[in-house]
């Protein structure tokens, strides 16, 4: 029998709990982005991270969703409760998940695909267009988004994220991925400055 | 009738469920939809009363088909469709009973019911959608997955041997064994039609595409590429009979491959009942 009674009762736990959702449609590489993010946080930065996702017909069809919960402490409840950050790469995803956000949470959208934003406080970047035009590879939109999130949320170190991205990058695409990530950092840094 | 078949639209609306759940759950380009089209057209050609058609399936992508079809539909447990169908057929022999099954459903977990239904020669038509993989569960190898192919449970290449569905069905006693492809839809339609007409157990093995898993893992491309492959490599039995075996290399046979006459199960049962009744009357 194990008794984990060491912690003081009543102590507020997991005040540092941070919840992220990456959402959009299948094929945008969001599950992979979630896994990379969780790996960077967990393996790289040594925090706790849990990644969950939606399965089922929903998953095979259009919509796609990956959630990451981050904390320094033991993560009790592994699913998200109120999102600290929502990345929405489609209008549908934005409409559907916006209500799950915490007050004051960060909304990040792809401006080329999400046209009706339910709030004025949000960060918008044309990830897909940037990927195609700046990096020359539409598939790295998710990596640009990861870069932006890292910059905005500050829950992962850039080094860890870079390492995690490169570990997962298909051979020969390392450079593009790195470029994409840097681009993500940059655009978010600029946006923050402007905001 | 021919016109209607050729044009399809009213056939579609007549045979698919009134509350159509389209677009269906299948991946874009999945052969299951093509087979479904061939099936309803063959039923239409036979002019069967929808109320007297029962479609029974197991579990798998292919086995999802009955949900869309406006017949008496029974979506059962994995591998057991033929056993359920046997119950339906014996209970109401006047129903036309069609079983939709996958290569996993019919030949892996359901292999025993498959061979026993072949043996009994009960008047059920089985459409076995043979995509050489377990599609529904995400691409594990099936008893039909070619040796050397890749699958999630054959990450280093499949080292198992395969069933030849046709040989197995014949070995087990089936009285009608045919093979079609989702590329050759009209041949398929006719094979299904003849299978339904056959008084006895009939198997139509349909070579189909799961490009999402099988195609992707084995670099066989998308739906179009996989259908093109079928176009190239299928060889009708009539042609096969005329050419030397070495010309068959890399090809596979299609068409009505085996047929024989044998009394049908529910008919035999009825004869037994009649004999009994006669004996009792004679007393």
């Amino acid at each position: 029998m194990t008794a984990a009674n060491g912690k003081k009762h009543g102590k507020k736990e997991q005040t540092d709990r941070y919840e992220i959702r990456l959402s959009g449609s299948g094929g945008q590489g969001l599950i992979l982005a979630g896994v990379i993010l969780a790996t960077a946080i967990g393996v790289g930065d040594g925090k706790n991270a849990v990644q969950t996702q939606s399965y089922g017909p929903e998953a095979r069809g259009g919509a796609s969703r990956a959630d990451v919960v981050v904390s320094e402490q033991e993560i009790y409840y592994p699913k998200t409760m109120k999102l600290d950050l929502l990345l929405a790469l489609t209008q549908e995803a934005c409409d559907r998940y916006y209500p799950d956000m915490k007050e004051g949470g960060i909304l990040v959208i792809d401006t080329s695909l999400v046209t009706q934003v339910p709030t004025k406080k949000y960060y918008g970047f044309p990830f897909v267009r940037l990927a195609r035009e700046e990096i020359g590879h539409a598939m790295v939109a998710n990596v640009i988004a990861l870069g932006a999130i890292a910059e905005l949320a500050g829950i992962v170190t850039k080094e860890s994220l870079k390492e995690a991205v490169l570990e997962r990058a298909p051979r020969g695409t390392e450079e593009k991925n790195e470029k994409a990530l840097e681009l993500g950092f940059k655009i978010a840094r600029e946006a923050k400055r402007k905001a | 009738m021919m016109e209607k078949i050729a044009h399809g639209s009213d056939v579609t609306h007549h045979y698919l469920r009134p509350k159509k759940k389209f677009p269906n759950v299948w991946c874009a380009g999945c052969g299951n939809g093509i087979v479904m089209g061939a099936l309803i057209r063959s039923i239409d050609r036979l002019d069967l009363d929808k109320d007297n058609v029962a479609v029974v399936s197991g579990i798998g992508c292919s086995s999802r088909m009955p949900v869309y079809l406006d017949f008496n539909t029974l979506h059962t447990t994995h591998g057991r469709a033929l056993a359920f169908a046997t119950g339906v057929k014996i209970a109401k022999p006047n129903l036309t009973v069609i079983v939709i099954t996958g290569d996993g459903d019919a030949l892996a977990i359901g292999g025993n019911h498959f061979i026993h239904t072949c043996r009994r020669n009960i008047n059920i038509t089985t459409i076995l959608i043979d995509n050489r993989i377990y599609g529904m569960t995400g691409g594990q190898f099936a008893p039909t997955t070619p040796g050397g192919s890749f699958a999630t449970t054959a990450p280093y290449g499949n080292y198992e041997k395969q069933f030849d569905v046709v040989k197995l069905a014949i070995g087990a006693g089936a009285s009608y064994v045919a093979r079609g492809t989702v590329y050759h839809v009209q041949q398929l339609e006719k094979l299904i039609e003849a299978g339904i007409k056959k008084k006895g157990f009939s198997v139509v093995d349909v070579v189909s595409n799961c490009h999402t898993y099988y195609g992707r893992f084995n670099k066989e491309g998308d739906a179009v590429e996989m259908l093109s492959w079928m176009k190239k490599h299928a060889m009708p039995i009539e042609a096969v009979r005329k050419i030397p075996p070495e010309k068959m290399k890399g090809k596979f046979v299609t068409g009505l491959i085996h047929e024989h006459d044998a009394t049908e199960f529910t008919h035999e049962y009825q004869m037994m009942v009649d004999r009994l009744a006669q004996k009792e009357a004679e007393k």
Binding site: - | S9, A28, H184, V185, L227
Partner: protein
Amino acid sequence: MTETDPKPPVSEGNEKAARGDKASPGKYVYDGRTPPINIFLHWCKACNICIAFCPKKVLEPDREGKPTLAHPEKCTQCAICWLHCPDFAITSNYK
């Protein structure tokens, strides 16, 4: 893969011809207005089958990959597109 197409007796060419129907109804001619086939875009999943196998190259993909009637006048009502559409998204207008 290198061997020649065995030309299966059905599924190619005009369907009625393939069936050996006696009464040949004559060739289909596009009237310039009624599209030879209808495409229900809502059911279409952009699988590309109809486009790839249309022997007359009647169809071309739109931005989403769904078929558009690029050359209606070339259509022969051969039926290949709608017989192969896995999603019942094509019907013919030829009555």
